[in-house]
Symmetry: D2
Subunit: 476 residues, 4 copies
């Protein structure tokens, strides 16, 4: 999971990249970075941490330049290393390139091994570095080289390249032929803005133009944009989990406003659960709020904030001692006794992965003497790992791949458990899409194991950890 | 505005104080601190910053001890100095004392000047240091000294003293005779827990016993608790703003669950605005959420999350350049176009102070082409400054003290503006109080200028800034 | 051991104080701080660490003002706490005061206990805070109050007070009647500069005027200086250890250039050891260099740098594991095999306290197969603790108080051990004094146990640690 | 200028590497780093800063492993970037490699351009990265690949490679055929230790075996060492500046103890200046101390420490304001007036580059009213830049390349200026070499412009700055 940004032909390119990354912080909290074109030189800054930690204190007077790319990262393949923080950059005979990547290649291991046999040197463990090497070795102009390189790649890639070559500065934005991950383009003054989500365009005042098509390559230079289609796939496969959980509610993703899609999922869930007797619909904040509002509207059961989220919880909280462990679950979510005591509640969340967090939340409600908990999940059971950029665990860790619905309900301690049916989910997403005549086909592999591509034989998440001797780094 | 904690007779006193402070972070983000009794020695740690910054990395093995007090501070009187961070501590001939204070004395300047004339040395600029000096100079046991000292103090004080004297460790908790600020006590294993709000008791697994009475002094030692009433006032004056805005929704304050009180305020507001034509009720998150839910339930107008709050916004965000300034308002709140465009909305917030923030929010909505904005405020107009611990500005800064309702509506750019009437507010709070036979009289001075005490002639907020030559400090 | 600075009537008072502290860094490495008079306000910054760590990054534009005091501290009495870092400051009815103190009171415990009985509050554990309380409680002007307060103090105190009162800013510099610690005054443009050592005056380009007399109080204001003598003692007692070890070689202390005094100590030592057969005179760098040069000149034995000091060793070096421990002694001093192998050397150092360091150095030489080591110490055996500001350990830790010369030589593993006789030491210091008609009487208590004052019954070094319940603090 | 370390077959390889780097801190203060072999994985840590800053706080339990290499760097070619910090590492099809490099290639630009044309990607701007790419692309085993790669390199390279391949961990140490930079090997328990200087072996308790021969390649594995000679040059060219200035006095370099070589340079200088009338020989500390001792011994003029060096000066000192600038020179060196006033001194230093520092030092002496300054330099005039790793500026910055001796003396403000003649310098170094039958031929190019290799047409120091568009980075 990552967020990417590209800005061209704007005097405040670096600052706007900072803001656009900030608005996409939910797409990755592990590292952040920026690369700016300064004449013939790329200036890069990246570090582990949140956008504000990494870029908030930056001296932007040293990052002047009219084009920039940026990245926020949450590790999928590749470990948690500074060497893996993006944008990655390189210097080649044709010039300098920086790249920001959202996605995951399924043939990264094979590509890397071939490159290593041919004398390539790797600094980190990401598939993005594989892409850079392929580009460096492909002939022709940088546009040609990018197309040639990516034709060898299978899997998900939404990419923004910042290219300095032959005295010109260009941006090349590319989306894989399946269209797994989002990528949008907008108009920003006399320049262009690329981003994973429209919320980033809104933040910087750019006007949304359109989503890149699956398999499309766009080159932006001097405020002009040219498009080509160097990649083809049999069908599109937009990630439905972006709608369910990952994207920000105010973004428009794959033609649908996420907030509307989630509200509609809640409505569908209410129809599916027609007849449930309950006193309140309570969301798990913040991820379940919109579906719970839809559920409440459709069912007539009142919506109530029975759980308050603590927004001061950071990721650095040091684990308290053994005695304290039981208390730690109370730090993030606070139950409101008045709403819960002696009440029957429909608890709404977006998904269940391992089940351990849901179980703790149910226990919190039980401590307030809730009478019944009917758990309503606004997506189908997750039964397969994602190879396209969502950090789901291996199959043996997925509770729905290993237990029946009844067993899961028992494990969680709830009176009933309902997952939204896949057809209803896709119907909800279709209903929410209003601006676009033909909504894309969706990838539902995590719910159906129907993978749109071959899947890796060497597990992707393991590359760089156990299968090969590799470089493990870390720099203060 | 501050939050205080006291723990007695528990092996994990320091860690539990940390957790209890964390759950009261909303009461103060400027500094945090803790004091632990270790045998005959007080060990103190305090610094500027959030609870997790100050205490998250603490080596708690060096803070062993069975009794502790803690504090989070948002400056009111006194400046933003490390010297003002609490708990304050002192060493006297009777032993050692640490104290955590929530509140504000209205006669602090007079008391301090008298003490200085008598040779007292001050390190910081808070009224809490005045209290410590009065205690040090009062005769008798520490209990007697605390009572004697506080009998000279007017204004608001909820205090927890940690006292080591004559080989014994005790805790003295005190609430001023008006009962401005909350202070509750709970049972925690074989010991006791004191806190500003019940949410802190919930966090650490303490069982709520009761609120301290206005004017009550409680001494806790070896798991036992004794009570006395050394202070008297003509009437109680619980701060109604704790219900409107300040306390956490899951806390029980002055006998009412805050969430219920706010929902009821929303209901009352809907009754007051009966007949408003609107398509959606939209809260300003997070402060307006509960009132908006009440409003929606009472009016039948659908509740919608038309504004998304960005929870990554920290206080350290560096102001971008002139060009960027306009963008900065978009960093905290994100409008959802789908909910707003061409719609008539009731926008619900808790209060208006200067009006500048509300104005920016309305503009955000206008950019999404909202059709009508009916602003509903769940409290009356603020027309007077608070002298009892809420950091409201001087009268000339309060928009409602200087403009008519129509002028304010025009300034904000809304179709209509409605403040909840004071009687309805007090009625809502009374309705929400269920556990307690006699709800307290409330202080409504900020809405009515009906101050329960004399008010300072030297403005309290200015002490230590302009009226006297003082110590300004700051330590890394 | 501490270093103090005061600057008056100079636009760059804070920066010059910084530089003057930097040049006195050898007098204390634990904490540093500065206080500046800004109109009617004192602005203070102090923290644990070296001068450059604490003040090197300071925004001096926020520390404008024409008068400042500064302090570097190495703890003696009082623990290693931020609360003990100086300058200390206070706000009283007469105005604001900051103070920097070099020295140690022998009656601090008695004074503190009396103050506590009278309602005084203490923040830290230093005797300097006692002085502040005495000043706050004494009647009259600040000059009168300082004199009255210090008349109650016994022991060593060189003090610089920065006083803001009645719209005027003054500096009061005081030296105790025995004159234990140095304190000099110089002319700096239109203002004055006070410092512990003349090297600080040299650093900032101030012209040395003279040393303050024992028992003298100087008030500096608007470039003028007035003097009085409020304190009397039977005799002067300048600390001879300043000459032996503590002061910087280029300073003039008590009328003598330290470098000249140390060279003369080496000459005297050579006379005392006339007849020693050796191939080289080798100093323990840096403390033994000047005495070794004097020894070589007087004896005709060649001076050689047989030990190289590593200047990158900081105080923060983390102890390596058990296997590494033996190696750690090699980190600070590097023997030069060429100089040592098969040679007879006179090893020159300034003093021996516990003997453990000397023993390790001798072992380093032995590893290079040195033939003979004749250890020459440029001061007499240390047999008594210092109560006047030098951080010597208790008597049972002093090797010379517990072993004969032969036993010490055996413990250290040297062929011979010679201490400079006390008469020769005092003679050397007298010889080096050229500018001053009457050199002071010296305190030699650590060599002779002839203490110029009563000594504390409660050991001073223990105050605030075990004898009383106290405040132990620590703030990030 | 850099220092390198390699440790094999020792359980504490990382800690010992840390200590050995610490002892070579004088060879580079810009960055430090370490790479450890952990099974099949390399673990790397590197950062900007001193050894103690970078490695002092490292959790060595996470750096277990029996082989390690380390590096300290002062930039020559390549800029001051984290990307340039070493050890550099790579992952290839044959396994993983980390390398530490001391030296500078003269054909780095040509090699890099050819590699880029062939699709190689560069992260930083050092020639060491060029070497890694050449190794990755050369066929055969890693030993064969290293030999093949380095046969293409001209210039100076002392290298230690840590290689993990085919389940084995080996170390490959190489010295260029001219032998510009030192590289020694010692026995350490059952393993081996490589280092730039013998002082590093002394620090960790390794027994010095011998210097690597020019053009030698040593492979160490399982405590055994095999040697080969894959590179040839017409003559050896050991850097004489290592003896003059760069190496630590207690090291044995190119067969001579540095301290002895410098003392002998001072003797030769005294002979050359026979007849000079002076009262004292004063070194510029620390670099001139040994030559000054030799001068004093040979001339009979007394040695005196007329300048005291301040060892608290770090590199981070923030430049004070305009008013302060004149004072800043006094921060590092403190003149001792007693030694200088009205005296004729021979001031001894090791070399003059631009002349600006020497001029400031002379001014310091003049302020103390020194009577005459006879400046004696223990090396010839520097007239040519170094292309082999010493960071000398371009010719137009070298004072001796642009002015006559008389002009320089006038510029510096000295009564006379004497440079040691080149024959005397080489004679001194030869005299000091005692352990080795045939001392090497020395490179004296900076004194004679007699370069042992072709010199770069593109100035090496400029690579990566102006001639090419490049990556400029910087990561927190």
């Amino acid at each position: 999971m990552c967020g990417i940004v590209g800005i061209t032909d704007h005097r405040e390119a670096a600052r706007l990249t900072h803001l656009a990354l900030f608005s996409q912080q939910h797409r990755g909290q592990e590292s952040a970075g920026i690369a700016v074109a300064q004449g013939a030189v790329l200036r890069v800054h990246r570090a582990m941490g949140l956008v504000q930690d990494v870029l908030g204190g930056l001296d932007f007077t040293a990052f002047k330049g009219k084009a920039a790319v940026g990245h926020v990262r949450y590790s999928t393949a590749g470990g948690s290393l500074l060497e893996n923080a993006q944008p990655l950059s390189m210097q080649g005979v044709r010039g300098a390139v920086a790249v920001a990547h959202n996605g995951n290649l399924v043939n990264a291991v094979e590509l890397r091994q071939a490159l290593e046999r041919d004398g390539a040197i790797f600094q980190g463990t990401t598939d993005t570095e594989v892409i850079l090497h392929l580009v460096a070795r492909a002939p022709g102009t940088y546009e040609e080289a990018v197309a040639t390189a990516l034709q060898q790649c299978r899997g998900s890639f939404s990419l923004v390249f910042l290219v300095i070559s032959e005295g010109r500065t260009r941006m090349i934005a590319v989306r894989d032929p399946w269209g797994f991950r989002p990528l949008v383009v907008g108009k920003l003054g006399r320049g262009m803005a690329f981003a994973s989500e429209t919320c980033a365009l809104d933040m910087i005042g750019a006007r949304f133009i359109r989503e890149l098509e699956p398999g499309e390559m766009v080159v932006a230079e001097s405020g002009r944009m040219s498009s080509s289609r160097p990649f083809r796939a049999e069908r599109s496969a937009a990630c439905v989990f972006e709608q369910v959980y990952f994207a920000r509610p105010d973004s428009v993703v794959f033609g649908a406003t996420v907030q509307a899609a989630r509200t509609e999922m809640g409505r569908q869930l209410a129809q599916q659960m027609a007849g449930v007797k309950a006193d309140a619909v309570v969301p798990v904040p913040d991820s379940g709020v919109h579906a719970a509002l839809g559920f409440a509207a459709a069912s007539g059961i009142p919506f109530q904030m029975g759980l308050i989220r603590n927004h001061y919880v950071g990721r650095t909280f040091i684990q308290p001692s053994q005695v304290m462990r039981e208390l730690s679950v109370r730090m993030k979510l606070h139950p409101v006794r008045e709403v819960l005591e002696n009440r029957r509640v429909v608890l709404v969340d977006d998904s269940i992965v391992r089940g351990t967090t849901s179980r703790k939340i149910v226990r919190l409600l039980r401590r307030c003497r809730v009478k019944e908990v009917h758990l309503a999940i606004s997506s189908p059971p997750i039964i397969g790992p994602c190879y396209y950029g969502i950090d789901t665990p291996a199959e043996d860790q997925l509770i729905a791949a290993n237990k029946t619905n009844a067993e899961i309900a028992k494990f969680l301690g709830v009176e009933s458990l309902t997952y939204l049916e896949q057809d209803r989910l896709l119907g909800a997403v279709r209903t929410a899409a209003r601006r676009r005549p033909a909504p894309p086909d969706y990838c539902t592999a995590c719910f159906s194991r129907d993978y749109p591509t071959d899947v890796p034989t060497v597990p992707l998440g393991r590359v760089g950890r156990t299968s090969l001797p590799v470089l493990a780094g870390g720099t203060a």
